[in-house]
Symmetry: D2
Subunit: 279 residues, 4 copies
């Protein structure tokens, strides 16, 4: 028996669940969990995620497209639950998100292989290499940015299925994002769409908000505007200066990023336009 | 077309979803939403809630038992989404939970008919009757408790499908609960199982907790030990005395109770042993 | 003995607390609570709020300016804790914030006198008048806005010490705000600065945020940009449509607004530039 | 200039703040922050924490007792803000709280010196020693518990000002606690007083709570009953099994413990009976 994850995205209409579940029963699959969402029962879009224990997963995968997906116009994927994704982590100077991911990975809480860590600084080389992981130093200056991006693109395209920006402070160009065959997950240190761009804790301090937050999202060419995966917040008071906001925020950032990465690795996320469905 | 809610609780095994969804498709039902939960794919228990648009809901209801429920050993119910439940509200002196339910009901946010308000005090008669609702005053003393409970039992059994204890401060006897053909939902002003029994804010103050809470649960014969439906909390500091805890807690109580009642009215809750599954 | 609230705002320097507390001790005042905040011990600004039990509050008030406030360049006020403020409430069609304030007031939880309720609609007249309160209907159209604002200004200037916009959906002109001798508190249905302006729940839905919120702030001429008093949030998922966001948000709005109003009534807020210090 | 922290605990009465702040002004101290709390202005207990910039901290410290503390019957301490406390960390097998404290310490977020790490297991020796820190392995069996506790007591008494139980799974005896000249801070993986004792996540699962939590508290002879310093919680659903609760809870545990330890190190906590005042 192998556990498969089935993700479906299609126009909603009558009979989808029946068709899928009958197909699975015929192929001796046992539905372990199932979540679905419809934006409207007749005019809407239908999303589903199932975990299925399959006796013959290859046959099931081969048959599903023609038998079910095509008749319903589905975008779909069927992924083995034990196929670990390869993850590249990008970081700059701030260590907390990088270290948090590495520690969770080492504790067995992130079902991925760490392909490599890439940084525009040397700060984390020692810690990363001591864990037996590759560390690639790709410095970025305004002059070298195109070559640096080219090198980064080759690295992640070659080695990884997903790249995580763990407080990586360089903006990725639209060209890089267009060319990259893998998604990038970023953590932004504000509750987007508030405080897009640089120095969000400074912006939050200046605006006098009573709540700060962090947002994990897929990266798109428009800065901090990609589909939001997860957000969380914490209360603050007038007593907190910018440094204190950053210190309190760091605990939110790492938890929010870790949740988003985990959900991505577990194939819980369907991107739909500028938004996500997270099952 | 009529919208039905289907709730299922049975031993988990292969083919349940296929059987249900095929049955629904054959009866021209369109699955609008579906949630399910299994405690274990082979040895566990399976729970499901679906909303289905049915062209012939009577036929669907009549056929489901023999066609699907019996072969799988299901406990099940199929309820029309527009069959409004009749709700009795019990209150004592504190007004906030009672008023909150009444206001939500009047704003159209609680899909129920208010059968009556019952209280062991007269405090709320005027407000309740001004809303055009029945108010039954059933005083309770140690001597009159059996008769009072008998009267209460007759009232709610006759008029209501669910009774909500909106800070009703009398303990219901095991006899009453055994005899009553309807569930009772209570709001307890602590995050259970902490601070069972009387004066939970006093207990919370004495213990010096940094968080207070409220718990909505179905009532069972064991005090404050029934299946929990919903809980929420708020941060407090050493500055809050007992009265301040009660004031802050009141806002939690009313939101938690309103959520629990709404979920019950929408048939989102399956009670399983001492616990709930809330879809 | 009378309880006074003393609020101070001045450049920080050595000896402020000593000067204030020695003055109070000399005037037989007993400090009941004290909070203070300094943005920087030498170059910063100093804020303080004290509650003081005074045997001769008139003498204390008369002497403080010359004895303490002037030497330190203080902006200050000394207010009797039992001087209830007069509050005007402005509402449009949505009832939840208006009703919530009225209920808290009737339960004794808002230490204010309700001067009147003003609305550009007739919806709430009956409920408000049944509570024995004045209801002023001031319709607003593009043509009549200047006269309507003039009438509104006269009403609140005459009757109230603070005006609360409890989901009042008309934008107040800069002229009105300049001319009004009292502060306006507004509840905006988003976690500002996200989703300024109209239909924030629609904006939140379109952006796909995982958290919604509400913000209470003092009103300034720039829309939704005044000093923030209080914010709170709630988690949402992809399942919530715009209506559901509005329903969930309503519970946040009313709690956030009630907290902000209470803090204003208790003289806990010092406005400093575009921000607030809330003690 | 040296920054001092002054903590005071005494019966409340008129003139305390005046006496303290006048004393500080006379000794050329500048009050940087001040927090206070009184349980009742005439019959209550008064607590205060100040940070003071002092030109002659030794003289200030020497004079305060006779000049101020004795007349008012104060329990007090005056501590240099830059006197780093020595901290021992005790851990068992679970790494997350231990690692979290070490990482924060290395990032400069915990103002302490790590005296040593003590464990009844060998699991963390490598990581700890790689950071240049002492690791003491003190195995505990029912037979060797007295000797083990004796060794532990000698270690922490000799080396540390505070000991932190970072998921240390041995219960400390009343004898050890009585003899130890330093406080122990523990993290318990439930929102106390719910789920005292062993396997709180199992207990939480069995009770079907909708919220889990963690509690940092000072250790006393009565199990999990010491003064609570900090608590936090997270929402869970029926979907979370015991392992998932433990995984979600780990993120709460480490944040709650880190906050409590930081507050202790910053001298923000006054223990009063079974409770804490946290400034």
């Amino acid at each position: 028996m192998e556990r498969l994850r089935l993700l479906i995205d299609c126009p909603d209409r009558r009979g989808i669940v029946a068709a899928v579940s009958t197909f699975l029963a015929q192929h001796l699959g046992n539905i372990v969990t199932s979540d679905q969402h419809s934006t409207h029962p007749t005019d809407g879009r239908f999303y589903m995620r199932m975990e299925v224990d399959a006796e013959d997963p290859v046959a099931m995968r081969n048959a599903f497209g023609q038998a079910v997906a095509e008749p319903f116009g589905m975008t779909w994927r069927m992924v083995g639950a034990h196929e670990r994704k390869r993850m590249a982590i990008l970081a700059s100077r701030e260590p907390h998100c990088l270290l948090d991911l590495l520690w969770r990975w080492r504790a067995g809480d992130l079902p991925a292989d760490i392909a490599c860590v890439i940084s525009n600084h040397l700060d984390h080389r020692e810690v990363v290499e001591a864990m037996g992981l590759e560390y690639h130093h790709i410095p970025v200056t305004p002059q070298t940015k195109p070559e640096a991006e080219q090198r980064l693109l080759e690295l992640v395209s070659d080695k990884a299925d997903v790249a995580v920006l763990a407080r990586y402070m360089q903006i990725l160009s639209a060209e890089l994002l267009d060319a990259a065959p893998l998604p990038f997950i970023n953590i932004h240190h504000s509750f987007l769409p508030a405080f897009v761009g640089a120095q969000p804790y400074r912006q939050a301090f200046d605006r006098g908000v009573k709540i700060i937050g962090a947002t994990a999202h897929y990266v798109t060419a428009e800065l901090d505007a990609g589909p939001i995966i997860e957000q969380d917040v914490a209360r603050v008071t007038h007593r907190a200066g910018v440094d204190e906001l950053a210190r309190l925020g760091a605990d939110i950032e790492r938890v929010v990023l870790a949740r988003a990465v985990r959900w991505h690795l577990e194939d819980r996320i369907i991107v739909t336009g500028d938004k996500t469905v997270v099952f």
